[in-house]
């Protein structure tokens, strides 16, 4: 729906179990054929999300 924020599943901290905060995205250009197919066609690579735990400070990432 126009104007509605995209829903996403929260990452859960592997150290303490708290919900993590999604604070950054980075476009990754991969040469590896298995990763090279762009999932973000307009950007030409795949998107990596970066999350941090507000409770223990641990970080994690995942491919979109």
């Amino acid at each position: 729906m126009a104007g509605m924020a995209k829903e996403e599943s929260k990452m859960i901290c592997r150290r303490c179990g708290a919900e993590m905060n999604h604070h950054s995205d980075k476009i990754v250009y991969a040469a590896d054929p298995e990763q090279a197919a762009p999932t973000e066609l307009t950007l030409g690579g795949f998107m990596e999300e970066f999350h941090t735990c507000p409770k223990c400070g641990g970080g994690a990432s995942r491919h979109n």
């Binding site: 970066f50 941090t52 990432s61």
Partner: protein, 188 residues
């Protein structure tokens, strides 16, 4: 509840034998450790055992990765070799990525000549940016480093302490601000 201490390790960014930057890195670590609420370590890239027949995140070293993940900010001590940085510093930095995102970094340039590593700092800035680190606008420049310390690594020019203190105050402010952002402010 006491806030978690900030963790700001100091990276010694050269493997060269006889490196004067070791004195600089030791001094920086001592000055960081004097700051209240801050924990630190000295990370010598010569002791990060990475292979050289591959590169990037594929060769991530668990201990170095854990320290980068825990870090709120980094101090990188880099000598200037032929106007650039030590290739093995780049090799070690490139072994991580997600560990650096939205964390602060301050660079300490070291040179035997009069320019205090200004060119190596300029060369490192775009690398730091692409790694997701946030650079501060204070640097520390050690010129003619061979005259700045005695043979035992004792600092001979106290004026560096004032500059290091200003550099660290800015780095700590940025580290606190970015920790708040990482943990509390969502991208969307």
């Amino acid at each position: 509840m006491e806030p978690r201490p900030l963790y700001i390790p100091v990276i010694l960014g050269t493997t060269r034998m006889g490196r004067m930057s070791a004195h600089v890195a030791q001094l920086l670590m001592e000055e960081v450790s004097k700051q209240p609420g801050i924990e630190t370590d000295l990370i010598d890239i010569a002791k990060v055992p990475l292979p050289t027949n591959d590169a990037g995140e594929a060769i991530r070293h668990a201990d170095f990765s854990d320290k980068m993940n825990r870090a709120d900010a980094l101090v990188v001590v880099s000598p200037e070799y032929n106007h650039g940085y030590c290739g093995l510093l780049k090799h070690v930095l490139d072994s991580c990525l997600k560990e650096y995102i939205h964390k602060a970094v301050g660079i300490v340039g070291v040179s035997a000549g009069p320019f205090g590593g200004t060119r190596v700092i300029q060369n490192l800035l775009p690398v730091m940016r692409e790694l997701g680190l946030v650079t501060i606008f204070w640097d520390v420049n050690f010129s003619t480093v061979q005259k700045a310390f005695d043979d035992n690594g004792k600092l001979l020019d106290d004026s560096y302490i004032r500059r290091i203190d200003k550099f660290l105050q800015e780095l700590i402010w940025m580290a606190k601000t970015l920790r708040h952002g990482r943990e509390q402010i969502s991208l969307s």
